[in-house]
């Protein structure tokens, strides 16, 4: 009854239970944080804009992204994955989401940033619908906790236009 194996088993079970409860509490504590991030994005220039031989439009642009995501960080935050996506509708597709830039923010100190970049991923449409197209730029963030539930949110910035002609 009180053998070594029995005691070791009881200790291990108890330790695992406590650890699971602490992880659950840590994950729950994230929901008490109500973040208020801010972001601004400017399209500085269209570098080039053309139709590929396969019939898909492709555009390259230079962006200026500034954001303050410091309020997303809590003690249970491992990192914040942030990305900027162009979102628009076309006659064939009710939604197109194209990631243009992304980054991993590992700590609160560098969560307030400004970056000047051309699009990291290719902005290619499924078809040839980009001339004069109005699109939204949406900054999405996905918070990765040290343990527990992940959560995500976004900030939509609208009113961006692509040029009417290829260049």
């Amino acid at each position: 009854m009180h053998s070594f194996g029995y005691r070791a088993n009881a200790l291990l079970t108890f330790a695992a239970t406590i650890l699971a409860v602490i992880c659950a509490i840590a994950s729950f504590s994230d929901t008490l944080n109500s973040p208020s991030p801010t972001a601004q994005v400017q399209v500085l220039s269209i570098n080039w804009f053309q139709c590929q031989p396969n019939g898909n439009d492709e555009v390259s642009m230079t962006l200026n992204i500034s954001a303050d995501l410091q309020s997303l960080f809590t003690w249970n935050t491992k990192q914040v994955f942030v990305f900027l996506a162009a979102e628009y509708e076309t006659p064939a597709n009710s939604l197109n989401q194209i990631s243009l830039w992304d980054g991993i923010i590992p700590s609160k100190e560098i969560a307030k940033f400004q970056i000047h970049t051309s699009n990291k991923y290719r902005f290619v449409d499924q078809g040839s619908n980009l001339r004069g197209k109005e699109f939204n730029l949406t900054l999405h963030w996905h918070v990765m906790p040290k343990t527990g539930k992940m959560f995500a949110d976004k900030l939509v910035m609208s009113g961006y236009h692509l040029p009417k002609e290829y260049r």
Partner: protein, 180 residues
Amino acid sequence: MDWIGEIPESLKSIKIRRILSQAISFGLIVTSALMIWKALMCWTGSESPVVVVLTGSMEPGFARGDILFLHMNKDPIRAGEIVVYNVEGRDIPIVHRVIKVHEARDTGEDYILTKGDNNDYDDIGLYAKDQLWLQRHHIMGKVIGFLPYVGYGTIIMTDLPIIKYILTGALVLLILTSKD
């Protein structure tokens, strides 16, 4: 000297009872594990509700040995979500992030492109030959939460199968020799 003849008889009946009761408790362990797994499958809607990360392609978010909890529902898949997908001709499912989505207006079908956070290139090279997009039927689930390190045992067992056999043997021995 007539007690010699009696002992084997009583020993035999005790032995049979013990073996029966051990077989039942062993069966209980196996069936309750199976029940929990199946219940999780129903609850999350994913054919594999818990997966272990096998590669470092999502570092520093997910490392080898982390456990991921999956969820699958009717909601459309959106950019930024981390999905687990299967590609024809590959045995092992892949955990990567969605970077592009095109949703067809007439069918509602999503055409998805994924990429690992720690990889330099998107996943077109990982897909089947001539496959440009993932579709819904490739997706096993979306990642909703994770526990670090817990799955490392699985990785050790895949890397060194001998440990798996030793552990299984020890466990079976323990169950068969336990007194309660």
